[in-house]
């Protein structure tokens, strides 16, 4: 498996086409507007791939919104740049709302920005006017916004998944990691319980895996400080991984590409800086579901990760052989 080249994201994207929104308007009545965001189209390509593969396998239809722009993520929240963050996301809400009532943003950062923009627009006529000036038409912002956990929760019941998974991931102990942006600030995000998030558990349990209590499940990984102040990310991420390791988890499951980057891409830097020897695979929620459905790790882009998931995949393989 390691001798194969890493997943070519472009190939997969080509293979699992997601039609242009405008074209598919009436063809997919139950579909979701899909907002990948910048990370998913570059360094977190495997998150995008795994979402597309798993949704296709489950019969969920996604229509990528055309000509979407960067949501501004980290540097554009309002304390830095006036209304920049709201305006950037407002454009995306506007486009997404053209044909479908619900949109999905797998990136927790984009999800947070989109929901925040929606909240601000609902509360300020001035903002709505400003947005209308930019878009040259009144802004449409009331679309329902889901993150990837909500999407799968809505479309798949644990019973359905359990049947299809057939306990494929039994024997694994997965630490659910929510990070910050999916649930906070609670009154705007209105998703799960900000103090004690549990939304990933039902589906993870249905895959057969164990998902015990992980005390650092909503601690911050260091956010966008990777470039400007690396020490913050290294310290924060280190503790998350170390506690998971100490508690005997096989992997950390996340639904945010920035968390993934900090925990996975920089795990080497953590080891070098602190003299640790951590080897904790970091998997996306969609990848775990994909594994449970029997997809190959390569297809799901798990070999694109920096920290190898070899041991974990071996466990799954061994169980499959035993059964």
């Amino acid at each position: 498996m390691t001798s194969r080249r890493a997943t070519d994201v472009k190939e997969v994207r080509a293979a699992v086409t997601v039609p242009d929104l405008a074209a598919s308007a009436t063809e997919h009545p139950g579909a979701y507007s899909y907002f990948p965001g910048c990370s998913l189209t570059s360094s977190a390509g495997e998150y995008d791939v795994s979402v597309r593969l798993v949704t296709a396998a489950l019969g969920i239809k996604l229509d990528e919104i055309p000509d979407w722009n960067c949501c501004g993520a980290s540097p554009a929240p309002h304390h830095w740049s006036g209304n920049l963050g709201v305006l950037l996301s407002a454009r995306n809400l506007h486009i997404a709302g053209y044909h479908h009532d619900t949109m999905v943003a797998p990136c927790a950062g984009c999800y947070n920005r989109l929901k925040n923009a929606q909240y601000e627009l609902a509360g300020s006529e001035e903002l709505r006017e400003q947005t209308a000036r930019v878009l040259r038409e009144p802004v449409r912002y009331e679309i329902e916004i889901l993150n990837v956990v909500e999407l799968f929760d809505r479309e798949v019941t644990p019973e359905m998944l359990s049947e299809r998974a057939g306990g494929r991931l039994a024997g694994l102990n997965l630490a659910t990691y929510y990070g910050c942006l999916m649930t906070r600030p609670a009154k705007i995000m209105n998703f799960d319980n900000a103090r004690n998030p549990v939304s990933m558990k039902p589906l993870l349990k249905a895959t057969g895996a164990d998902s015990g209590h992980f005390p650092f499940k909503s601690e911050c990984c260091g956010s966008y400080m990777g470039m400007p102040k690396k020490e913050i990310v290294l310290r924060a991420s280190r503790r998350i991984i170390e506690v998971a390791d100490d508690m005997g988890f096989d992997a950390i499951v996340t639904a945010c590409p920035l968390c993934h980057q900090n925990l996975d891409l920089r795990q080497d830097q953590i080891n070098k800086t602190f003299g640790t020897s951590l080897e904790m695979p970091i998997l996306y929620f969609s990848q775990v579901l994909g594994l449970a459905l029997g997809m190959s790790a390569d297809d799901l882009g798990i070999d694109s990760h920096v920290v190898s998931a070899r041991k974990l995949l071996q466990k799954i393989e061994q169980r499959r052989e035993r059964v």
């Binding site: 910048c38 740049s81 006036g82 454009r91 910050c180 906070r184 470039m227 080497d268 830097q269």
Partner: protein
């Protein structure tokens, strides 16, 4: 050091009231339990932990607050706000203190953060989407540290994790209009 509380409270009253108004919080609600500081992710890098920022606002020490590293470095993980027993959105107070500091022209000592923001927003302004490879190079240039994160480059390339060619959206005009609306966005205020 002596804090001349009657003086500081009088002189700082307006600024504190401004921060309170913007954030929707009263600083007197805080009873200094320190829970915000207990799990604050960034505290080790800050000069003042979050509960001390609240305390300084309570005592009118606004200069210290507005010139602190804390308000520049805080990255809004909101762990403090979620745990406060008095339901104070501490991160929001700090964020609004930063806004006031920005408006007063406080540059702050955290140049890396300013460069990061500059590099990021220039990047987005140009093409409408973030080009990660360029982000790293422009940040490193601004920061005069060309070899920062160089160890990650082979890894990223090998795993085909970034575009070499920047992504561009079609309707870049709208993006430019957005930045124009926000008073020359993309530049540090």
């Amino acid at each position: 050091m002596t804090i001349h509380v009657s003086r500081t409270l009088t002189e700082a009253a307006e600024v504190v009231a401004d921060i309170e108004r913007r954030s929707g919080e009263r600083v007197s609600t805080c009873y200094q339990c320190g829970r915000c500081t207990s799990t604050c992710t960034g505290t080790f890098a800050f000069d003042y932990p979050p509960h001390r920022i609240m305390r300084m606002l309570q005592l009118g020490q606004v200069d210290e607050v507005l010139n602190s590293r804390t308000i520049q470095l805080c990255f809004d993980c909101m762990t403090c706000s979620t745990r406060c027993p008095m339901n104070i959105d501490v991160a929001n107070v700090i964020e609004n203190a930063k806004m006031v500091a920005d408006e007063q022209g406080v540059k702050g000592s955290e140049k890396e953060i300013r460069f990061f923001r500059l590099a990021f927003l220039q990047n987005v302004r140009r093409s409408g989407r973030l080009h990660e490879a360029r982000l790293l190079t422009s940040f490193n240039l601004l920061n005069f540290k060309p070899f920062n994160d160089i160890s990650l480059v082979p890894v990223i390339l090998r795993r085909k994790k970034v575009h070499i060619v920047p992504p561009k959206i079609k309707n870049r005009g709208e993006i430019h209009r957005i930045f124009q609306e926000v008073n020359g966005g993309g530049k540090t205020k």
